[in-house]
């Protein structure tokens, strides 16, 4: 049976969230954070759907109350309503399952007993729950707003930990509990495409953001889009690829959000337009962020590539060429926001402004750990494979070969992490040496404003950091511009307006005078009397 011990996710999430919570000690929201941790525990330890749901909901509301300390009211409303919407869909699925199984214990669930329509209905409801939590496009507004308005530390938890709950739910429900069920394959097909469309749209939206955490929020949505896509294949290697990517993404987002938390602590600024040129003020943070974005972009030499590789080969194996093309497109587009992130904060020119603060030392620990793990995973890409295979093996899928930790095997080829790292290292050192020995001597400019600027001497108040606006040109590209509009927000706003109008109509009934009430009651009586006879 599916068990807590078997879930990498659980270990990972606990370990990492504790790391983030560490800097929070002696703060007021610590209790709520611990409650959140408890809810994760309930979620992972659950042996019945009711318990699972308790964990799920507790996670929702405890995070809501943590969020409440910093977010705007509209954001909070959006957060809780979307989360509850997903949770109620889950509850609906649970109730439906109960209707057929008569029990909510995992061990009593036998999906082969479900009639197809019920299986599909359950699948749809679960999709809603998973999609809302993962922020599938159209249901993503709450993600972005909450990530950007949470306290910097809590954004890290939201993105690194909580965003994976949807994936966990999917794995538990579909791959463990309902795998015998006869779900309509079309549903998974739709899910796969939704995932990839989400990742593309979110990637472009990420590129056009001006706020660090909004960018990263969209990036999270995009990354989870891949995972959704790959999970929809319902295959063993896809499961492993998804889990590997979950692991990597958790590490990356922890690193990046903590990095941004540090930057916010140092500068008190959130927007790229107000930042820039931090590299020589915080070189360590810069390096950590670079590690993060290289991994995020999925380039070799850092762990990010491993999971991308697995995802691609899994899709290749299933011969899903177009799906893979779309995934790779979105993945390649991610370079742009990765660069925007590092440029907007660390590179470019530093705007003239007030003093800098000191970043708390405790923020460095999670970053350093994540970065070290990402490097280690690049060197030994097969390291977590055995760990990841556990669920797959329990489900009867063949595990990936991890006899040589340096080599990540897949059905479509393999690569040697050590060789990549080694070759790069040698080339890098050799070229650096060459550059050092070259006849030409490097002279460092004294004033960062001594740049080639059309023969001009820029003043300190000249805006030289307008590169933060990169991505604006996407609005001019006819294929991309429509993706950048806020369709879903308009849709939900309109829906809420309709509800509000309907509500006004109904609530006007409740201000009737006593005479009218009695008259209505009399009318009802007469009508029923006539109708009933």
């Amino acid at each position: 049976m599916f068990h807590f011990e078997a879930t990498l996710l659980a270990h990972l999430f606990f370990g990492l969230s504790l790391l983030v919570i560490l800097p929070l000690l002696r703060r007021r929201d610590l209790v709520l954070h611990l409650l959140l941790l408890l809810s994760l525990g309930i979620l992972f330890y659950a042996s019945s759907l009711a318990t699972l749901f308790i964990g799920w909901e507790m996670m929702g509301w405890s995070s809501y109350f943590i969020l409440a300390s910093s977010a705007r009211v509209a954001t909070l409303q959006r957060y809780i309503l979307f989360n509850l919407g997903g949770a109620f869909a889950l509850l609906g699925a649970i109730a439906l399952l109960y209707g057929f199984m008569g029990s909510l214990e995992y061990r009593d669930i036998d999906a082969s007993l479900l009639p197809p329509w019920a299986m599909n209905a359950i699948a749809l409801l679960l999709f809603v729950a998973v999609f809302v939590k993962s922020g599938i496009i159209g249901l993503h507004d709450w993600v972005v707003d909450s990530y950007s308005e949470a306290t910097p530390l809590f954004s890290a938890i939201l993105s690194a930990i909580l965003s994976k709950a949807g994936i966990y739910l999917f794995i538990v429900m579909f791959m463990v509990l309902l795998k015998e069920g006869a779900t309509e394959p079309l549903l998974f097909e739709i899910m796969a495409w939704l995932g990839v469309i989400t990742s593309i749209v979110a990637t472009f939206k990420a590129i056009s953001q001006d706020e660090m955490r909004r960018l990263l929020a969209y990036s999270s949505i995009a990354q989870i889009g891949y995972i959704i896509t790959i999970l929809a294949l319902m295959q063993g290697f896809a499961l492993e690829a998804a889990l590997y990517h979950t692991l990597i993404h958790t590490l990356i987002k922890l690193l990046l959000f903590m990095n941004i938390a540090s930057i916010i602590a140092i500068t008190q600024k959130e927007r790229f337009s107000e930042l820039g040129g931090m590299i020589y003020h915080a070189p360590v943070l810069f390096l950590l962020l670079v590690i993060g974005i290289i991994a995020l972009a999925g380039m070799p030499l850092l762990g990010g590539f491993n999971s991308k590789f697995l995802i691609y080969t899994a899709l290749l194996e299933e011969k899903r060429a177009l799906l893979l093309g779309a995934v790779m497109f979105s993945s390649a587009s991610a370079f742009l926001y990765c660069y925007k992130l590092v440029y907007g904060i660390y590179l470019g020119q530093r705007p003239q402004e007030a003093s800098l603060h000191v970043s708390p030392k405790s923020y460095y620990l999670p970053q350093l750990l994540s970065a070290a793990l990402l490097v280690l995973l690049a060197l030994l890409p097969s390291l977590p494979v055995g760990y990841l295979s556990v669920i797959g093996v329990e489900l009867g899928f063949a595990p990936l070969d991890d006899s040589n930790l340096f080599i990540l095997q897949s059905a479509f080829g393999s690569f040697h992490g050590g060789a990549l790292m080694g070759a790069f290292g040698v080339a890098f050192v050799a070229l650096l040496g060459l550059l050092q020995l070259a006849h030409s001597k490097a002279k460092k400019v004294k004033d960062p404003l001594d740049i080639s600027y059309c023969g001009e001497v820029p003043r300190s108040e000249t805006n030289l950091h307008f590169g933060y606006g990169m991505g604006y040109e996407l609005h001019r590209i006819s294929f991309i511009a429509p993706l950048l509009r806020h369709h879903s927000r308009v849709l939900w706003d309109r829906l809420s307006l309709i509800a509000s109008d309907f509500s006004a109509l109904l609530s006007s009934l409740y201000s009737l005078s006593a005479q009218h009430v009695t008259l209505l009651a009399l009318l009802l009586f007469t009508l029923l009397l006539l109708g009933g006879q």
């Binding site: 790779m328 660069y339 590179l347 690569f415 080339a427 490097a442 960062p448 740049i451």
Partner: protein, 293 residues
């Protein structure tokens, strides 16, 4: 032995890279009705830059940017096999595969972009932005073609991909995929009409604006090697690779000349235009090609 092999590969890539670059300047001069510089001109340029007395740097990241970029190019050369058979000139290709190489191709530009960004020059970043935006659309058709090739061969391994073409090269087996990849390849080569990145009329030299002396020299050298790596990639993916060095030179030369002539006669696309063109024509070709697979 392996080490010698690797060095040889790098030397070949370096030599032929510069030779082709010189050739490019010559050929396009002929197209323009000029004589153009000598074949070794680009090589001379890079040596001259190496021996300039000073180069300006803006800090350590600026210093490391070109190094990372050049390392990326070196890695690309090393991870793509030169020949489709035998032990020699295979480099590290058995340690990687096509997917690795596709991603390694972006490593260099990213390193460079970091260096450019740290100079604080807005023109540099504008160039980088243009490059990355163009990259969005540039990679899509190439990826589609590569996916087709990989699915066709049943592996991402270069050896197997080349072996699968022993009877019929992919260019003829999947002409649409080849067309898609070729248009992308033109863009990757940075030639017209896809050379908006460093348009000197608008953004100085784009990413290279602040690079001087040895940094520029390193960038030129890596660009030569990188171009050769891209030629290799196309030859391996669509022309079945090469049996021996002579064939390799011949095939890369043909490909190179084709790219040069096309580049010489087309005017430059703006960033938006190039993205729209790349998404319209080659991507569609690629999708149809995949559908026909």
């Amino acid at each position: 032995m392996l080490l010698l092999d690797l060095l040889l590969m790098l030397l070949i890539a370096y030599g032929f890279g510069f030779l082709y670059y010189g050739l490019y300047r010559n050929l396009s001069a002929r197209v323009h009705g000029r004589f153009g510089p000598s074949l070794a001109q680009s090589f001379s340029d890079s040596i001259k830059l190496f021996v300039k007395e000073e180069s300006t740097t803006f800090g350590w990241m600026f210093y490391l940017g070109p190094v990372i970029m050049a390392s990326g190019a070196v890695l690309n050369v090393l991870f793509i096999p030169f020949l489709n058979q035998g032990e020699s000139l295979q480099g590290l290709s058995s340690y990687g595969n096509l997917i690795v190489v596709l991603y390694l191709m972006v490593l260099g530009p990213l390193g460079n972009a970091l260096g450019v960004g740290s100079s604080g020059n807005p023109f540099g970043v504008m160039g980088v932005t243009r490059g990355l935006t163009r990259l969005l659309a540039l990679e899509l058709p190439f990826y589609l073609a590569a996916i087709g090739v990989m699915i066709d061969a049943g592996s991402a391994d270069f050896g197997i991909i080349m072996q699968a073409q022993s009877t019929q090269s992919n260019m003829f087996a999947h002409p649409l995929l080849f067309a898609a990849a070729f248009i992308s390849f033109l863009g990757f080569m940075g030639k017209s009409p896809f050379d908006v990145v460093g348009a000197p009329q608008e953004v100085y030299s784009g990413p290279a604006t602040e690079f001087s002396g040895k940094f520029l020299a390193l960038l030129m050298s890596q660009s030569a090697m990188f171009s050769f790596a891209k030629l290799l990639l196309m030859v391996n993916l669509f022309w079945g690779g090469a049996d021996h060095l002579g064939e390799l030179v011949a095939k890369t030369f043909v490909l190179f000349v084709a790219a040069t002539f096309i580049g010489s006669v087309y005017a430059r696309f703006s960033t938006v235009q190039s993205v729209e063109f790349l998404i319209r024509i080659p991507t569609l070709l690629g999708i149809v090609g995949l559908a026909l697979l």
